[in-house]
């Protein structure tokens, strides 16, 4: 065994993480994003992709929570600004914008995220359901879990309007 191989093995051992199986039941995988400084989580089953937003097309004559449309892998998606929808105070000097592509049973759309924190597995026991609030389904230790179905079913986003 050479010295290099020995060092690499030691390094691999140090980085190696033991496989942890949750002893106390089911876990939920959440994608944690940041919108205007606030942490929100999206259940991973709804997430198609997270990417750097490389430009979108603003659409005139629409409510302010509709940022515009974005092209993703050949599909044209509506891009929603969660900050407007959630009535969050505007943040100045936001960094690189990210796109999170959500796919529901009704339709697919994109939401604007300031940062993509990553995928976190959270115990079901740690998630508290919140029925009262719209758009936020539950509260987890890593952030408020967005109610994607409610968002997709929100009548505000269904715009049937003809341009004069």
């Amino acid at each position: 065994m050479t010295e290099i191989a020995r060092v690499l093995e030691e390094r691999a051992r140090r980085f190696a993480r033991p496989v942890v199986t949750s002893p106390r039941g089911e876990t939920t995988d959440l994608l944690v994003i940041a919108v205007r400084g606030e942490r929100y989580a999206v259940e991973l089953e709804f997430v198609v992709e997270a990417a750097v937003l490389r430009g979108f097309i603003p659409l005139p004559g629409l409510p302010p929570f509709v940022a515009g449309v974005v092209l993703n892998r050949g599909r044209l998606l509506a891009l929603f600004d969660l900050g407007v929808l959630l009535h969050l105070p505007a943040e100045s000097g936001a960094g690189k914008a990210h796109l999170v592509v959500i796919e529901t049973e009704r339709f697919s759309f994109g939401i604007l995220a300031d940062e993509i924190h990553g995928v976190v597995s959270v115990m079901q026991s740690e998630i508290t359901e919140r029925k009262a609030e719209t758009l936020v389904r539950a509260v987890s230790p890593v952030g408020a879990i967005l109610d994607v179905d409610a968002l997709a079913a929100d009548p505000r986003i269904r715009i049937e309007q003809e341009l004069p």
Partner: protein, 505 residues
């Protein structure tokens, strides 16, 4: 006359008076000489005549007496005496005859001589009678003839004497008339001379008094002015003496001060020389420091250039880091998408999820490392920025320092020159102050001399003042004297002094 001097006037007056006197004396003398010449011989003849008459008379009387004695006594010795007396009488009569001035007198005396002869002849008869014993006869002859002859003789003589006297009286009367005429003339001349003398004297006096009054007035004025001016001069001299005393005191003080000045200026000159040396040293030191500053400046410039190069390198490092960070973010997103895909794959993707999480951890570590590197790099950039700025400031400071040092060098050079000039000036000041001190010594000496001279001057001024007062007093007294002696105004002793005395007339 007006232009004549007093001496001339007096001389002229006296000459007039002398001429008058000479005239009077000449007239008198002429009269006396004339009288003497006219009556002297007459009187002398008369005297001689009278004395001769007396002699013959006396001789006749004694001869008569001797004759009588012979008659009484009969002694012969008396006859001898009688003859002698007769001879004397005859001699006297001869003389009288010879000296008689007039023929009448001569004939008179000749008659007397004849009568004497007669008388003697009679007496001889008597004597013959006596001798003959004829006494009675003798006596009778004597009584009858001799006595009348004797009387006749006497009468004749008396008559001649009376004639002589008469003549003399006549002559004396003429002489008296001449004398009285002369006396009258002399008296008139004297009176004329007196009157003329009084007139001349009055005129002279008036003119002299006028001139004198004028002169005395001028004298009084002048003497008063002299008194006033000498008084002023005395006061001025006293003030001058005081001023001179003060000045000499001041000169003494100045002398002491100049001694102090000598000391101080010597110290100043020495310190100026020291300062010149020090400024020379300072100039050298400053030139060295200028060189050092220029070296520092060039080094600072090199440092600044290197730091700038370093800063550029740091910026390129920053670009690399940005790239690395971008890669890490992309890796992170890739890991997220891998995790999404793994989650969608279910149990089959569980291993892939682990890999994705590892990739994500690596990306996170890369990001953290890049963040650290960026932080460090930003610190480095800040440091280099501040270093660049510091270097630039250093360059500027060293430039300014060089400029300042150059200016300081200029200033020190000027200062050195000034100090050298000051040193030179200090030396000159020292020399001049020493000369000044010598001069002050001379001044002090001169002031002492002036003080003495001033004291003498004051004393002499006082003497002059006294003399002027005496002069003034003299003028006053002269004025009083002149005014008392003339018909002018009363003596002006009470007049205000300095007033011009007007002419009396």
């Amino acid at each position: 006359m007006r232009t004549w001097t007093i001496g001339k006037r007096i001389a002229a007056g006296n000459a007039v008076l002398l001429a008058l006197l000479l005239f009077v004396a000449g007239a008198g003398g002429y009269a006396l000489a004339h009288a003497n010449g006219t009556y002297g011989p007459v009187l002398r003849e008369q005297g001689e005549g009278l004395s001769g008459a007396l002699v013959q008379r006396l001789a006749i009387s004694r001869a008569t007496a001797d004759f009588l004695k012979y008659l009484i006594t009969g002694e012969e010795r008396y006859l001898v005496s009688k003859d002698e007396q007769i001879a004397r009488a005859r001699a006297a009569l001869r003389t009288l005859e010879e000296n008689s001035p007039t023929p009448a007198l001569r004939s008179g005396w000749q008659a007397v001589s004849a009568a004497l002869d007669d008388y003697n002849a009679v007496m001889t008869e008597v004597i013959t009678a006596m001798r003959a014993g004829r006494r009675e006869e003798a006596l009778r002859i004597r009584a009858e003839r001799a006595d009348p002859l004797h009387v006749k003789l006497a009468d004749l003589a008396d008559k001649v004497v009376a004639e002589e006297l008469e003549r003399t009286r006549t002559i004396a009367g003429a002489a008296d008339r001449v004398a009285s005429a002369t006396l009258r003339g002399v008296i008139v001349a004297a009176a004329l001379a007196f009157a003329l003398g009084i007139a001349i004297a009055a005129g002279l006096t008036r003119s002299i008094v006028n001139a004198l009054q004028e002169t005395i007035g001028t004298l009084a004025t002048v003497s008063t002015e002299i008194v006033a001016s000498t008084t002023q001069q005395a006061a001025g001299t006293a003030e001058e003496a005081t001023a001179v005393r003060e000045t000499s005191g001041t000169a003494e003080e100045v002398k002491q001060t100049s001694q102090l000045s000598i000391q101080k200026s010597r110290e100043v000159a020495e310190s100026a020389q020291r300062a010149a040396q020090v400024s020379q040293e300072g100039r050298r030191a400053l030139e060295e420091s200028i060189r050092g500053m220029q070296e520092t400046k060039s080094r600072m410039e090199a440092i600044a250039e290197r730091i700038l190069a370093l800063s550029e390198k740091a910026q390129s490092i920053g670009e690399v880091i940005a790239t690395v960070n971008d890669l890490a973010e992309q890796s992170n997103l890739l890991a997220v998408n891998a995790a999404i895909e793994a989650a969608k794959a279910g149990d089959a993707g569980r291993g892939f999820a682990v890999v994705a999480s590892e990739v994500k951890a690596l990306a996170e570590q890369s990001k953290q490392a890049t963040a650290q590197v960026r932080e460090i790099l930003s610190e480095i950039q800040r440091a280099t920025q501040s270093a660049v700025m510091a270097a630039e400031q250093g360059v500027k400071s060293s430039e300014a320092g060089v400029g300042l040092a150059t200016r300081a060098g200029e200033a020190i050079r000027t200062l050195t020159e000034n100090v050298a000039e000051s040193a030179q000036a200090g030396q000159q000041i020292l020399a001049s102050v020493q000369q000044q001190a010598a001069g002050m010594d001379q001044i002090a000496l001169a002031m002492r001399n002036i003080q003495q001279a001033s004291a003498q001057n004051m004393a002499s001024t006082r003497q002059i003042e006294r003399a002027a007062k005496d002069l003034n007093e003299l003028a006053r007294r002269l004025k009083a004297l002149v005014n008392a002696g003339s018909a002018g105004p009363p003596a002006g002793g009470t007049r205000p002094q300095g007033e011009r005395i007007e002419a009396a007339a």
